[in-house]
Symmetry: C2
Subunit: 332 residues, 2 copies
């Protein structure tokens, strides 16, 4: 149904498969804010001319290990996929390579990218920026993106995959509370005046807190400027196009792939991760998890039981699979 | 006095200058755990044969942009300095380059390294591991290093420098509380049984908490295995030599240097950082700081007023400047 909706919007079949695979994986891993919820927005963006359904962007080797990519408003994973594949191949020769992508649409769940590289034996880092939703530590206004970082490292039985935003929570979680009418914890967000709030509606007009206090803020800010130094992307409140439907997306994406020093390190990393899993737990019966494994557990459950999708979202997708969105009619 | 103490331990003059500069900069930036406190330990390690005062290590280009370094038990900054300079030069041609260092002594304050690269116009990332002091989120035992990360990005009037451990606090701060007999906050550490404690003595036999809860733990663990995947370094409780005086140091260090996409990005990054500084503060009179600026403020103060050093430490350094430590006599 999702693929049909994308096809109707002019997305070639293979690109639609990639985009839907990414959204479904996010649903399976219980990251609904990066899941099917995004599909109507993607289609609206195509119809509004700020997402190009066909292009894979234009990639240029700026130097031997630095791939500079103009995304040409392509779909996030459609542009990022070939760029990532190119630097992974290049890193086998040069040891390390970077792709710096500008003018690309939302990447979706970052872990999806690094997991695929790590599963093939290379270590990967992914960083992307977003519209300003997070306040500086000690400040009252949203001035930073949620600036997630993902790290994938080869290991058995599956790669280690870190995938985390530098915000305290996803804005999606705050919307969740707003919909259900339940208060949010006092350390999640500020209201429009920059005061801490437990009212989710007030928080959506304010700013999310950085995770981990001053350190999380510092990390998020460092990632924001690091991405811009490599991509030339917009910064802070100038960033648009990751949440709206009608503005070209001007954030940046950075991928780094490195070849491990030897194949001998894989087993020691796997053994260490096993030791961490076996660490005596604080709460009996709640074993220590390695990053990414909470998602894997939920993925296994959901592969068996299915993905929870609201009727509202499903009917919206079904409608989009039958006809393009209203706005196109208005424009056309 | 410090240089004389190092000279007496067999450290060539230029290496001693480098090592002392790094320790003094840490003191100036109010990071005493990475300051002069380390000097007697460094000298003991030289006398015990687990730190080589002369070598710069052996660096090999494993591939065009991957410098593999066997530190040969050299002094942290003495080995890392030339490696970092080599990848910075290489990155000007290849766009990005990495140095993966094993068998090297303690690096000291990571920000010192990336600041120097960023001041010359390149973006740098530094990651190093350490002995296991931090417990996994939801676990009772120390199984991760404090695994700091530093990021330096060119900006005016000075580069942005992030330098943070992934632990809640430095073990040095817990020792501070123990010395002063004051309790520690309840979320800093666990005791030897893995229960939260406010007793600093109990905490020194337990584990420090990761910063930022589950996310900080995930980041610290990802950095630990990332470093090992590139250096082959030891992991978790197998890591030794960053705190003791007599075991070869088997942690790993990773530096990545990237050339910015264009010189045009510098001014936009500087303007953005100015906007962040001008963010309305939560507490009137406490302006928002950009990472590294707290250190810079203290540095300016201390350049004027001097560095606070305990009489005990100073007299220890003065003694070491007159004669090598006792243990050498025992061995010699």
């Amino acid at each position: 149904m999702g693929i049909r909706a994308l096809a109707l919007a002019g997305v070639p079949d293979q690109h639609a498969q990639t985009q839907i695979d990414l959204l479904l994986e996010a649903e399976l891993c219980d990251r609904p804010s990066h899941g099917l919820l995004r599909l109507p927005r993607i289609i609206e963006r195509i119809h509004n001319g700020v997402a190009d359904p066909v292009t894979e962007g234009v990639a240029t080797w700026r130097s031997e290990a630095f791939l500079q990519v103009d995304g040409r408003r392509g779909l996030g994973p459609v542009v990022a996929g070939p760029a990532l594949a190119a630097i992974a191949e290049r890193a086998r020769r040069t040891g390390i390579a970077v792709a710096a992508i500008a003018n690309n649409n939302h990447l979706g769940m970052l872990g999806w990218y690094v997991e695929r590289i790590a599963a093939k034996g290379q270590t990967a880092i992914a960083i992307t920026t977003s519209e300003a939703l997070v306040h500086p530590w000690g400040g009252r206004k949203a001035m930073l993106g949620t600036n997630p970082i993902a790290i994938g490292v080869p290991a058995a039985p599956h790669p280690l995959v870190l995938d985390m935003a530098t915000s305290r929570v996803a804005m999606g979680k705050i919307y969740d509370h707003a919909q259900r009418g339940t208060p949010i914890p006092a350390d999640w967000a500020l209201d429009a005046n920059g005061e801490p709030t437990t009212d989710p509606d007030a928080a959506t007009h304010g700013a999310i807190s950085p995770f981990g206090g001053a350190k999380g803020y510092a990390l998020g800010l460092a990632l924001e400027v690091l991405v811009t130094s490599l991509t030339g992307a917009a910064l802070g409140t100038d960033v648009v196009g990751t949440l709206d439907s009608d503005r070209p997306c001007n954030k940046g994406d950075v991928f780094i792939v490195v070849d491990p020093v030897s194949s001998a390190v894989g087993p020691s990393i796997s053994a260490y991760l096993d030791a961490v899993r076996a660490c005596p737990p604080s709460r009996p019966g709640s074993p220590v998890l390695v990053p990414g494994e909470g998602s894997l557990l939920r993925r296994a459950e959901r592969l068996a039981t299915g993905i929870p999708v609201t009727e509202e979202l499903w009917s919206e997708i079904c409608t989009l699979a039958k006809a393009p969105p209203a706005r196109r009619a208005a424009n056309g």
